[in-house]
């Protein structure tokens, strides 16, 4: 399959064409404020060369646009929150644990009605349809542009959310509706927060993904568009625009997946050195190890599965000062081409040291000729020490493990590090993000409680369900494999209740 992968980063928009297990062509273009002209520019550069031209089967875009909107409090829509759980949970209404500034932007109104389910599928109360119709009229009168619906235990029985969404659609045609059960996990507040964030980004997602599609079509490419997700897989554009929250952490995930694919190593530490920071993570079976902690996005508590990453202030643009030298955490960032010494600027940064030491050929080496070899070595040793210390913190096994170094600043990673069996530098490592996008697969996930079943039967049932979901999302059934199985017996519940989580992935099915 011939695919184009695009990573829209803070500084650069990278594009690669991958075919037959190889990167055929990789290019970089500056990211633009409107995002799309940077994509058009990158595609023009990619397609200009014969290795980047010709028909493709799919275009996969990874973007940090949606998480940036939340973090920077921009393009956030006002949301109507409808929770179906009364008379339970009433003292902790939707938005109750949001940061004030974000809640002020996103909270359009809160409605709580009777309904929802118990863990064993009994309704807490019958669904109060009249109250939902009344809420819908108030939501319309308030002119709110997006609705989030949450119900107690909707991952076990989503029927009340589905019925409420149907009533809302009848009463107020227009606003997009996010149901919390479509975002997964057990934990009402965290699942509801995900639905609220998703609803707050609904308008931005619609506009952004339409613009992506226009940019692809405008570049003369007829292939279907996919958007990369937090877990290293992709969703079709039509699905992705309904679920912008699923692309929150896709940048880091793509980079780690790209590192695994480029190196052919499925279990390793990955170090992604950028201009300002270095992300350290771990891949197992080609997928990032995920964080077990509650994840806060822009200060909002959620249960998203995100890669477990450690970020340190070390990058190609990091300031270098003093002797013994200190590196970072300040960085010249995207101003590297103006401020670094090798480009005629006045600030000594890590890139200058690498050029002086002969690790890198960039700018004018004569401009750093005054740097003594001994000093350059001490700076590089300090960078190695910072890496070693933090790699050890992220390692989960005692022995030495391989490490793949990617990113534009990968030259700062030396070929020998304590605790590392070998350091692997890969061609196109500076475009690992875009490569990770291009090779993404499709997943299906289940997180559910099973009762009165053996453990084996429960896991089998969950696996069937996950497989069906992956195929519905566009995966090729013949290529499906399980990437994660987790089961947890539940205390204080009768009937041998077992919570099972299964995730399967497969290749994008040809169409």
């Amino acid at each position: 399959m011939r695919r184009i992968g695009i990573d829209v980063g803070g500084t650069n928009t990278d594009a690669v064409l991958v075919d037959g297990g190889r990167v055929r062509r990789a290019v970089k273009a500056p990211t633009t404020a409107d995002v799309t002209s940077g994509i058009v520019d990158a595609l023009a550069r990619l397609r200009a060369h014969q290795d980047g031209a010709g028909d493709v089967d799919a275009v996969m875009i990874g973007t940090t646009h949606f998480i940036n909107a939340v973090v920077q409090r921009r393009h956030v829509s006002r949301v109507a929150a409808l929770r179906i759980a009364l008379p339970t949970s009433a003292s902790l209404p939707p938005f109750c644990d949001w940061p004030d500034d974000l809640a002020a932007l996103a909270r359009g109104g809160v409605w709580q009605v009777e309904g929802g389910h118990e863990y064993d599928g009994r309704p807490i109360m019958p669904l109060d349809e009249a109250a939902i119709r009344a809420a819908a009229r108030e939501i319309r009168a308030a002119g709110l542009a997006s609705v989030a619906v949450s119900a107690a235990f909707s991952p076990i029985d989503p029927s009340h959310e589905i019925r409420a969404a149907a009533i809302l659609a009848e009463e107020l045609p227009g606003p997009p509706i996010t149901c919390s059960h479509e975002l997964g996990r057990i934990g009402l507040l965290e699942r509801e927060n995900a639905a609220l964030l998703n609803a707050a980004l609904a308008e931005l997602a619609r506009d952004t993904i339409e613009a992506f599609a226009a940019a692809i079509a405008g570049s003369g490419i007829a292939a279907p568009l996919y958007i990369t997700q937090n877990d290293g897989t992709v969703a079709e554009a039509a699905v992705a625009r309904r679920f912008p929250v699923y692309s929150f952490a896709s940048g880091a995930t793509n980079s780690m997946r790209g590192a695994a694919w480029l190196s052919g190593i499925e279990d390793a530490m990955v170090v992604d050195v950028g201009g300002t920071t270095t992300d350290i993570g771990q891949i197992r079976g080609g997928f990032p190890r995920e964080s077990s902690a509650v994840v806060h996005v822009g200060g909002v508590r959620t249960l998203f599965r995100m890669p477990d990453l450690l970020s340190i202030g070390l990058g190609g643009g990091s300031h270098v000062e003093g002797d013994p030298p200190r590196i970072g955490p300040l960085s010249v960032g995207f101003r590297l081409p103006e401020e670094a010494r090798v480009f005629g600027g006045g600030r000594l940064v890590a890139t200058d040291i690498a050029v002086a030491a002969g690790l890198l050929d960039l700018g004018e080496r004569a401009r750093v000729a005054d740097i003594a070899p001994g000093y350059a070595k001490r700076v590089l040793d300090e960078a190695a020490r910072m890496l070693e210390e933090n790699i050890d913190r992220m390692k989960t096994e005692a022995g030495d493990v391989p490490l793949v170094a990617v990113g534009g600043g990968a030259f700062l990673v030396p070929s020998r590090l304590a605790g590392v069996s070998r350091v692997v530098h890969v061609p196109h490592g500076d475009c690992a993000n875009a490569v990770g996008a291009a090779i993404a697969q499709i997943s299906g996930e289940v997180d559910q409680i099973f009762r009165d079943m053996t453990r084996a039967d429960a896991i089998a049932a969950a696996t069937r369900l996950a497989a069906d979901r992956a195929c519905t999302a566009g995966a090729d059934r013949a290529t499906l494999r399980t990437v994660e199985t987790e089961d947890m017996p539940l205390s204080y519940l009768p009937g041998n209740a077992l919570r099972v989580r299964v995730r399967m992935v497969g290749d994008v099915a040809a169409r």
Binding site: A90, S91, C96, D120, I124, L188, R289, T396, P489, S491
Partner: protein, 363 residues
């Protein structure tokens, strides 16, 4: 009687209480997070809670003992509502015909540390600076009141749909556990409960004193260390005369449920001074017995706490996962559990281990 003035609990105290109580949960007790959210909202509305010393109770004062009963997982979908626990206390007053002087917690470890605060905020009663576990334990008879042979009845149990139950009389604590658990299951495996009321004399004789203050003190120490970018674990050990038992990473967790409880074992690989040494800790909802290279080194009733190695945040037996970097610390146990009768209720044999209790803190 020397009446020391009651102290108003500040919003900051409650933030610290949530951190400290989660550590005292010794792996169980449920996260105090949702209780904390309730308290933040009640304080924002202007409600306040006062803390009184158990020493200031009159012998014939009536004290409500409250807790949330049920499955932690259900508590994540049916969120704890401050009015339910207040209603359980009112229902007990209606049943006994006696007004309460104050409210106290069943267990200071985990989410139940906040339950009396929520009831007190609604009812205008003070909270007693005491509990009857000094930590979290899985069963009703694992309390200092049960060690003291106090009567286990009556109990009120409340569901927000207007379902209210009273267990009027039972012969033993075990019977109370069985019957109240059955009611709780019918409600949907979650209930706000008011346990057998205690007299001031009983609280002074058998309660575990000053545990609310202790949880707040632990939380203060940990939070201050985090703010100053110092080591929160060191701050905890210093504040509570604790002992650092181990530092390492989680390498395996096995879990199973038997008789409604989450049982299992977590295994760790050592780092720093413990490089090459393996630790395993058995749990029954809470951390019970820790072994270093196979030899038991810490066990209930010593408090065995597993914390995040960097933030000092407690890690629960339900959420601990492969690869986490942890420290294991021991905190001193409540005195009442060190007697032969106390060890009968909460010593290693109460959890099915044929070993004699040996404290980390024995001289």
């Amino acid at each position: 009687m020397s009446a020391t003035p009651m102290r108003e609990i500040t919003a900051e105290d409650i933030e610290s209480l949530a951190v400290g109580a989660w550590i005292l949960g010794t792996g169980g007790g449920g996260s105090p997070y949702l209780g904390l959210l309730n308290m933040r909202r009640l304080y924002a509305e202007g409600r306040r809670v006062r803390l009184m010393s158990p020493d200031d109770l009159a012998d014939d004062d009536a004290v409500a003992v409250v807790s949330n009963q049920g499955a932690p997982l259900v508590g994540q979908e049916r969120l704890t509502d401050s009015r339910n626990v207040a209603r359980a206390v009112e229902l007990m007053e209606e049943f006994t015909g006696k007004r309460f002087r104050a409210i106290m917690s069943l267990e200071i470890g985990g989410g139940n540390s906040i339950q009396p605060m929520m009831a007190a905020a609604h009812l205008g009663l003070p909270v007693v600076d005491a509990d009857c576990m000094g930590r979290a334990y899985p069963e009703a008879q694992m309390t200092s009141f049960a060690v003291g042979g106090l009567k286990p009845w009556p109990l009120t149990s409340v569901d927000p749909r207007g379902v209210e139950s009273i267990v009027a009389r039972v012969p033993t604590w075990k019977w109370m556990e069985r019957v109240s658990r059955k009611i709780c299951t019918e409600y949907g495996s979650i209930a706000a409960t008011c346990k057998a009321p205690r007299t001031g004399a009983e609280v002074k004789r058998w309660g575990i004193p000053y545990t609310t203050t202790k949880a707040i003190r632990i939380g203060d120490a940990v939070r201050a260390a985090r703010r100053a970018h110092e080591d929160p674990v060191a701050a905890l050990l210093e504040a509570e005369d604790g002992k650092l038992l181990y530092r390492g990473k989680v390498v395996d967790v096995e879990r199973r449920t038997t008789e409604g409880f989450l049982r299992g074992r977590a295994r760790f690989d050592g780092s720093d001074a413990w490089r090459g040494a393996g630790m395993e800790i058995d749990f029954q909802n809470e951390w019970i017995v820790a072994r270093l290279d196979g030899a038991p080194i810490a066990m209930s009733p010593d408090l065995v706490c597993v914390l995040d190695g960097v933030s000092g945040e407690a890690i629960g037996t339900e959420t601990i996962r492969y690869g986490q970097r942890i420290v294991v610390v021991a905190l001193p146990p409540p005195e009442v559990f060190l007697s032969p009768k106390g060890l009968e209720h909460v010593g290693p044999r109460a959890f099915g281990y044929d070993i004699d209790f040996c404290s980390v803190f024995a001289p």
